[in-house]
C-alpha cells in the first residue's frame, strides 16, 4: 500500500508541477537574446501596471516549434521576421504581427583585440579564430546577409546561439565574431565599427492574444520598449 501511495503522490506532484502556475499571468515566449534583460523587463512591466508575466526564453526557432507542438502562450516574440513568418504560416500566431525593436550585428573582438581586427574583411583570415552563429539560427542568417557581398567567412565554429558565441569571445578563445550589439554591450565586449553592418538589421516581431495584448503593447512603445532601447536595441524606424 505504501508503494501505491508513493506512486500516487508522484503522479499528483507531477500534475501540480506540470500545471501552469497562474492562468491569469500572461505567458511570454521570447527569444534568448532578450533573456539577459529579464529582471529589468519584469520591473518595467510591473511598475507600468501591466503586471507580472511568465517567461519562456529559447531560440526563436525552438519557440515556434514548441508552439506548433501545442505549447500554450499568450505572447510570441521572435528575433527575426523569417522565423515569425514560419509561425504565422503554421497558424500559431494571432495576427500578422508587429515589429517591436530592431537589433544589428557588431564585429566583436577578444579582450585587447589580439588579432588586430580592423574591418569585416578580417573574418576571411585563416590565421584567426573566427566565430559566427550557424546559418540555421537568426543571428547566423543575419551574419550571412551582412557579409555575403563582402567577404567569405573562414569560420572556426558555427555556434547554435548568440550567447554561446559571446561567451567564447569574452573568454578570449575566439579572436573575432559577429554578435548582436546588445549581447556585446551586456558582455562588455570591445567592438570594431564597420559601416556594412549598420545597414543590416533584424526586426524583432511579436503577436499576442487578448490576454497578452498589454504586454505586447508595452514592447512596442511602452516601458518594456524603453528597457530594450536602454539595452542597445534600436527603434524600428532607425
Amino acid at each position: 500500500m505504501a508503494l501505491i501511495g508513493a506512486v500516487a503522490a508522484i503522479v499528483i506532484a507531477l500534475a501540480v508541477l506540470g500545471a501552469r502556475g497562474d492562468a491569469d499571468t500572461p505567458l511570454v515566449f521570447a527569444p534568448s537574446s532578450l533573456a539577459p534583460f529579464e529582471a529589468d523587463l519584469d520591473t518595467a512591466l510591473i511598475e507600468s501596471g501591466i503586471g507580472p508575466v511568465e517567461w519562456v526564453f529559447a531560440g526563436s526557432q525552438s519557440l515556434v516549434t514548441q508552439l506548433i507542438d501545442g505549447a500554450p502562450a499568450d505572447v510570441l516574440i521572435t528575433a527575426d521576421a523569417a522565423t515569425f513568418a514560419r509561425a504565422n504560416a503554421a497558424g500559431v500566431t494571432w495576427d500578422d504581427g508587429r515589429n517591436l525593436v530592431t537589433n544589428r550585428l557588431v564585429l566583436a573582438v577578444a579582450p585587447g583585440n589580439p588579432g588586430g581586427i580592423s574591418s569585416l574583411n578580417d573574418l576571411g583570415r585563416s590565421d584567426l579564430l573566427v566565430g559566427v552563429c550557424a546559418p540555421e539560427v537568426p543571428c547566423g542568417r543575419l551574419a550571412m546577409a551582412a557579409t555575403n557581398s563582402r567577404v567569405a567567412i573562414d569560420a572556426d565554429t558555427e555556434e547554435t546561439n548568440v550567447r554561446a558565441l559571446t561567451t567564447k569571445l569574452a573568454a578570449g578563445e575566439l579572436d573575432v565574431g559577429l554578435v548582436y550589439r546588445t549581447d556585446a554591450r551586456a558582455a562588455g565586449l570591445e567592438t570594431i565599427a564597420d559601416d556594412t553592418l549598420r545597414q543590416t538589421t533584424t526586426a524583432y516581431r511579436g503577436s499576442a492574444n487578448p490576454d497578452g495584448a498589454g504586454v505586447l503593447a508595452s514592447f512596442r512603445s511602452g516601458a518594456a520598449h524603453a528597457v530594450l532601447l536602454e539595452a542597445g536595441f534600436l527603434d524600428v524606424t532607425t
Binding site: 508503494l3 554561446a164 578563445e173
Partner: protein, 263 residues
C-alpha cells in the same frame, strides 16, 4: 524462508511498468515521427556523412583515451580504501553528474588558449585545443572516463587480489602482475567499459559544443548535427536520431550480461 508471493510482485509491477513507459514512450514518439521512406537518403547526405566521420573518429579515440587513463585509475581505486581514494573516486565520477555544458565551460577555462593550463600549451607548444577535432576528443573523453572507471573498478574489486598475490609469489613485479594477470582476468569488464564509454562519447553534446565549437568536418558530431537540423530540417534530425538510437541500443544489447551480472 517464505516463498515469494504474487501480491508484492503485483504491487511492484505498477511502478516497474511506469518506469518502462517513462523511457520507452519517448523513443516510440521519436520512431513514429521518423521519415522512414527517405531515411537512407537523409542519412547519406554530405552533411550527415561528414558528421558520421567526425563522430566515429572522436568517439573511438575518446573510448581508447578513457580506457588508457581509466584502467590504471580503476585499479588504484579498487585496491585502495583510504579517504583519499573516496575523494578521487568522487572526482572521477563528477563528469557523470555535472551538466555537460558546465563540463565544457570548465574545459574551456582550463584548456582554452587563455585557460589555466591551456595558455602554457599555447605558448610553449603552440597547441590550442578549442575548435579542433582533438578538442572534441578531450570533451568526449571527459564525459566518457567515469563510465569506464566504474565498470572496471567493480570487476577488479569482485575479482579480488588472489591472482595478483599468486603472481607476486612467483616473483612477478606489480606492473607485470597487472599486465599479465589482472588485465586478462578483467577482459569482459574492460570490453564492457570500452563499449559504455564509447556509447557515451558518441552521444556527447553539451561539453563538445561548449569546448570544441561546431564546424562541419572538424567538430560537428552527429548530436550537434541533430541539434542544428532541428532548427531547419526536423525530419533529417529525427532520421539521424534514429541512427544514433539504433547504435546505442545495439551496443547495450550486446553488453547484456557482461555489464550487469558479471559486474
Amino acid at each position: 524462508m517464505k516463498p515469494p508471493t504474487a501480491r508484492p510482485s503485483a504491487l511492484l509491477l505498477i511502478p516497474a511498468g511506469a518506469g518502462l513507459l517513462l523511457v520507452a514512450v519517448p523513443v516510440i514518439g521519436l520512431l513514429q515521427r521518423a521519415p522512414w521512406s527517405s531515411l537512407l537518403d537523409r542519412l547519406t547526405s554530405d552533411t550527415v556523412l561528414d558528421a558520421i566521420q567526425v563522430s566515429v573518429t572522436v568517439s573511438v579515440t575518446a573510448a581508447i583515451v578513457a580506457a588508457g587513463l581509466g584502467l590504471p585509475l580503476a585499479w588504484l581505486l579498487a585496491r585502495h580504501d583510504s579517504r583519499l581514494a573516496t575523494i578521487v573516486r568522487a572526482a572521477v565520477l563528477v563528469p557523470m553528474v555535472l551538466p555537460p555544458v558546465v563540463g565544457g565551460t570548465a574545459l574551456l577555462f582550463a584548456l582554452g588558449r587563455r585557460g589555466l593550463v591551456g595558455q602554457w600549451l599555447d605558448s610553449w607548444f603552440g597547441i590550442s585545443l578549442p575548435f579542433t577535432t582533438a578538442g572534441a576528443v578531450v570533451a568526449a573523453s571527459f564525459v566518457a572516463l567515469p563510465f569506464f572507471v566504474t565498470t572496471v573498478e567493480a570487476s577488479l574489486r569482485q575479482a579480488g587480489t588472489d591472482l595478483e598475490e599468486a603472481a607476486a609469489v612467483t616473483g612477478a613485479g606489480p606492473l607485470t602482475a597487472f599486465v599479465t594477470v589482472t588485465v586478462p582476468a578483467s577482459r569482459d569488464a574492460i570490453l564492457a567499459g570500452l563499449a559504455l564509454a564509447w556509447a557515451r562519447a558518441l552521444g556527447e553534446f553539451g561539453a563538445t559544443i561548449t569546448f570544441a565549437g561546431n564546424l562541419a568536418g572538424r567538430t560537428r558530431t552527429l548530436p550537434l548535427e541533430i541539434f542544428l537540423a532541428l532548427e531547419s530540417d526536423p525530419e533529417s534530425a529525427i532520421a539521424v536520431s534514429v541512427l544514433l538510437l539504433s547504435i546505442s541500443f545495439a551496443v547495450l544489447i550486446v553488453l547484456r550480461g557482461r555489464w550487469v551480472s558479471r559486474g
